[in-house]
């Protein structure tokens, strides 16, 4: 393996600044790595070799010409296939969008390109981001680089697996109920869900509009912060975008000083149903933060227990409407257009063939929940729960600066283990969902390996709206304290894929 793929994004940027490596070399090294391991990992749905090298070459040219470049210029990145990139296939993991090449860039992609970040390709995901394992992808399951028989988490399993397999130093994910943080936890990487409205949704193929949030995935806290800064900020194309300065995330990631920080452990997110190894690593991390000077108290958020059912009403409701546009009329898959079928029949046949079982399940659920006569009992009630959860957070933030919990109740499970049990699958997101419902910032940071299975455990931090910087403060403190114990970030303990296979 090339040394270049083992570097962090910050280190790669430094190598380019000092002239020790070019973006083309770095990009090529990662393309080679993808060629070597992605047959096993299957993190990518589409690798844009030509486009990536052209972008890299352009950045090298600008650097040679002495142009002022942004901090991550020339660093490669893997993009979740739910964000549009002009001219590059974008499927959202669904057959119904097979072959679609968007005619426009999402705002996130525009900002990546403006920052000179090289987009290697599009990563695998559960279809329309509906899932926690990538097993709902229409294009096959991604494998967890820590154990290829296990799932990498989802829906953004492709993005987290790509950085965990050293196929890219950075990736973009989107988090609707934990789709950045849960895969981050399962792959021993950092996954950040920014404040809702802190990053633009323009060009993000919508799952649930009021929950979807693009965010950074990386192997270190600083890398995540650098990427966060590159993509965040007000976007007039997204009405729900927040018109405020981006929180000082990079500064927070460099300082990582938790002395005096008030940390609340959420009472409701632990105990029964949580894997002992997960709880052990979580509590050790809390102790570590206490030693670093944080003030830790237990906090109760009594309505969190209703978060999961409320989420599974709001999400399918919005999704049932968002996915209505996939009707085979304008783009994507079209089945049965043989001149004898009506438009209605063609739509029906295309959706039957193009949507997977979980997507159909949620469209049906959401259509029902919004129906006249049921709306108040389902969607209306779920919105009330949402308000109560936001109040739980607000009350907690009167006492503490951040809240913490395990990122997931368990470590990565085996492929096929929960695919027939939707409820067991949904429970993966118990800890992560409340932050989406409230629009808060939240992140998962690696905090060790569970004793039972030797798999990564994620430490979940939640912070108030537009206080994303606090996530990085905690993450950086934890990361440097643990690195002293481990002699590096957790990822250095990941198996060598080429060796093991």
């Amino acid at each position: 393996m090339s040394d270049l793929t083992r570097k962090t994004a910050a280190e790669l940027a430094e190598l380019m600044t000092s002239g020790q490596a070019s973006s083309v070399e770095i990009t090529q090294a990662h393309l080679d790595r993808i060629a070597a391991v992605d047959g096993d990992v299957h993190a990518f749905l589409h690798v844009d070799t030509e486009g990536a090298l052209a972008q890299a070459k352009a950045v090298d040219g600008k650097r040679a010409a002495g142009e002022q470049l942004s901090p991550l210029a020339g660093v490669p990145l893997a993009l979740k296939d739910v964000l549009t990139q002009e001219g590059v296939p974008t499927t959202a993991g669904s057959k119904i969008l097979e072959g679609w090449k968007p005619p426009y860039d999402s705002t996130v992609v525009k900002r990546l390109k403006a920052a000179g970040i090289v987009i290697l390709g599009k990563t695998n995901m559960d279809e329309f981001a509906m899932g926690s394992s990538t097993e709902n992808s229409a294009y096959g399951t991604t494998h967890n680089p820590w154990d290829l028989n296990r799932i990498p988490g989802g829906s953004g399993g492709g993005s987290s697996a790509a950085i965990s397999a050293y196929e890219a130093p950075l990736a973009i994910g989107t988090d609707t109920g934990g789709s950045i943080r849960q895969p981050g936890a399962f792959t021993g990487t950092v996954g950040v869900k920014p404040t809702y409205g802190g990053t633009s949704r323009y060009g993000l193929i919508a799952l649930a509009s009021s929950l979807d949030t693009p965010g950074p995935c990386a192997r270190t806290t600083l890398d995540a912060a650098l990427l966060h800064e590159a993509i965040a900020g007000y976007d007039p194309m997204d009405s729900t975008s927040i018109n405020q300065p981006v929180p000082a995330v990079v500064e927070a990631a460099r300082n990582g000083d938790v002395a005096g920080l008030r940390i609340g452990v959420v009472k409701e997110l632990g105990g029964e149903g949580y894997q002992p190894g997960v709880e052990a690593r979580f509590h050790e991390a809390v102790e570590l933060l206490t030693k670093l000077g944080a003030e830790v108290v237990e906090v109760s958020c009594p309505h969190f227990e209703y978060a999961l059912p409320a989420y599974y009403l709001i999400l399918p409701s919005e999704a049932s409407s968002n996915l209505a546009k996939f009707d085979a009329m304008r783009y994507g898959l079209r089945v049965g257009d043989d001149g004898t079928n009506s438009a209605e029949t063609v739509t029906s046949l295309s959706r039957e063939a193009g949507f997977g079982a979980e997507v159909k399940r949620r469209i049906i659920l959401g259509t029902h929940a919004l129906s006249s006569g049921y709306y108040d009992a389902y969607y209306g009630q779920a919105q009330k729960v949402r308000t109560l959860i936001a109040r739980d957070f607000a009350k907690a933030y009167e006492q503490v600066d951040v809240l913490v919990s395990p990122a997931t109740p368990t470590t990565a499970f085996a492929i096929g283990d929960r695919i027939d049990d939707p409820i067991a699958m949904y429970k993966n997101d118990l800890c992560t969902i409340p932050s989406n419902l409230a629009g808060n910032a939240a992140a998962s940071f690696p905090c060790g390996l569970a004793d039972e299975d030797g798999l990564p455990v994620g430490f979940h931090v939640m912070a108030p709206v537009m206080r994303d910087d606090l996530l990085y403060t905690v993450g950086a403190a934890l990361e440097s304290a643990l690195a002293e114990q481990w002699g590096g970030v957790l990822m250095t303990k990941a198996p060598e894929l080429e060796v093991t296979r």
Partner: protein, 498 residues
């Protein structure tokens, strides 16, 4: 298939009509409701589109502030309350010309509500209560090809033009309208006509019914005299001229009366209006179970117009139509009866515009009511669809004023204008219509008249100059009207030495 109908008088002898009118107004904002695409009418298909109005995956809407401003103005002009906080909602249903398969509209939180307005019919004023005015986006436009009817049934394929998708619409919904039964259809027409004038005065829409920028859906039901129970209603869609509004309402009254009086039931359905045959036919059956699964649009933030802004907009409103009518009547010196004819003839705005071009009120009224409104009535067109506007009227009157034409010849110029023969100058040229101002030709005609009427000449000479009128008539006849009568009189007087 033509349904049985009763005569309108027979229908109204038994039933009272109840109406509700929904008018869709396309705003004349430069860009669409939720994106920056242009809104001009008539561009080649699908050239005014972008990811947002095509509903491409990932695209998001952003509210056009100018459209909100127009909506508030319309609400204020209709005496509505303006919401302090309101939201958009998604109306979910499938149709190929609707890119997202939901329409971003407003549901239970409209921007304007609880208003009223007035219309005048035959000198009587009727108050119309306004339920709401809300913002929404237009759909694309489908063209069904290969069938006999132009409708989707029987078509071999359909073409969709998304230029219209996302154009800002305001939907204005009345409360139930109950007026004297015999006036119902005329009130419906007057209401739409009044809205056209009001929206034109506000400057928020092109209000071109022929281009679909003002469209009316008419809900009509009947109930037996004295009943308080509303009957089942039908909704006749896309009635696209004032005259059609009146005809469509009348038709539905006569059709429903025929169904009810033969013991039948009215189906709750949408109906299509046929301009050519003057009937409605069954469209889609509609029931209260139609479920659009409305929910607040999560891609948009609430619209919360500040009270200061609303008051600023209120201050910009033109005067109320009734106040304006009274002022104009006084300025013009028209009698009540004359003003009523102007209003009933839908000629108020054209007359205002014509007077602004320098024509006297009397002359403007003469042409608009005497010539153009009459012609519109005969041909079954709306006045603004004739192709003759204030500019042409002013041009013709100018030619009358400078002696090129007289009223009689001017009427022939209008004939030419209505027939599309070109500009007034071209018509005068082609038809050879100008007054003869060549004295020699007039003098020859005068000589002929004198020679042909010695008895009249003798009367004049014997001290009865008034008798010369007969000679003038003879000259005008000789000139086939193409002479200035005043000029003829002057020359004749000179000749006769009076």
């Amino acid at each position: 298939m033509t349904a049985a109908v009763l005569e309108i008088d027979d229908a109204l002898a038994t039933y009272d009509p109840v109406m509700g009118l929904e008018v869709h107004v396309e705003l004349n904002t430069k860009s669409k409701m939720f994106c920056g695409c242009p809104t001009e009418f008539g561009a080649p298909p699908n050239t005014q589109t972008c990811p947002v109005c095509l509903g491409l995956p990932g695209a998001l809407p952003v509210v056009n502030a100018k459209a909100v401003e127009s909506a508030i103005k319309i609400g204020l002009a209709l005496n509505c309350e303006i919401a302090e906080w309101c939201r958009f909602a998604r109306k979910n249903y499938f149709y190929p010309d609707m890119p997202k398969n939901f329409q971003t509209s407003q549901y239970d939180e409209p921007i304007a509500f609880n208003g009223w307005t007035e219309v005048v019919v035959d000198g009587e004023t009727y108050r119309i209560e306004i339920e709401r005015a809300h913002m929404e986006e237009d759909t694309g436009k489908s063209t069904h090809v290969g069938g006999a009817t132009g409708r989707i049934h029987g078509a071999s394929h359909s073409l969709v033009d998304y230029n219209r998708a996302g154009i800002p619409l305001i939907e204005i919904v009345t409360k139930t309208i109950e007026v004297p039964p015999a006036k119902a259809a005329a009130v419906a027409r007057a209401y739409v006509s009044m809205l056209r004038d009001l929206l034109f005065a506000l400057g928020v829409s092109d209000v071109r019914m022929d281009q679909g920028s003002l469209r009316c859906d008419a809900n009509v039901s009947l109930k037996p005299h004295g009943s308080t129970v509303l009957g089942t209603r039908t909704e006749t869609k896309n009635v696209n001229s004032f005259r059609s509004v009146e005809r469509a309402v009348t038709y539905e009254i006569t059709r429903q009366a025929a169904v009810l009086s033969s013991g039948g039931k009215i189906l709750q359905e949408t109906r299509h209006w046929h301009e050519d045959t003057g009937i409605t036919t069954s469209g889609r059956e509609k029931s209260d179970a139609d479920d659009y699964r409305y929910f607040p649009e999560p891609d948009l933030v609430p619209v919360a117009p500040s009270r200061e802004w609303v008051e600023e907009l209120r201050a910009t409103l033109p005067e109320a139509p009734s106040v304006r009518r009274a002022r104009l009547q006084e300025d013009w010196g028209f009698t009540d009866l004359e003003m009523r004819d102007v209003i009933n003839g839908n000629a108020l705005e054209p007359i205002v515009a014509t007077i602004e071009l320098g024509v006297t009120p009397a002359a403007a009224k003469k042409w608009w009511l005497g010539e153009l409104a009459r012609s519109a009535n005969e041909s079954g067109h709306d006045l603004d669809a004739l192709g003759v506007g204030p500019a042409e009227v002013a041009e013709v009157q100018k030619l009358v004023d400078d002696g090129t034409l007289n009223d009689k010849i001017a009427r022939q110029v209008f004939e030419g204008l209505l027939a599309g023969e070109g500009t007034p100058a071209e018509i005068i040229e082609k038809r050879g219509l100008a007054l003869v101002s060549d004295d020699s030709a007039l003098l020859e005609a005068i000589d002929r008249a004198i020679a042909a009427n010695p008895d009249v000449v003798e009367k004049v000479n014997s001290g009865k100059p008034a008798a010369a009128g007969a000679l003038i008539g003879a000259v005008m006849k000789d000139m086939r009207g193409q002479a200035d009568a005043a000029k003829v009189r002057q020359l004749l007087n000179e000749k006769l030495g009076i």
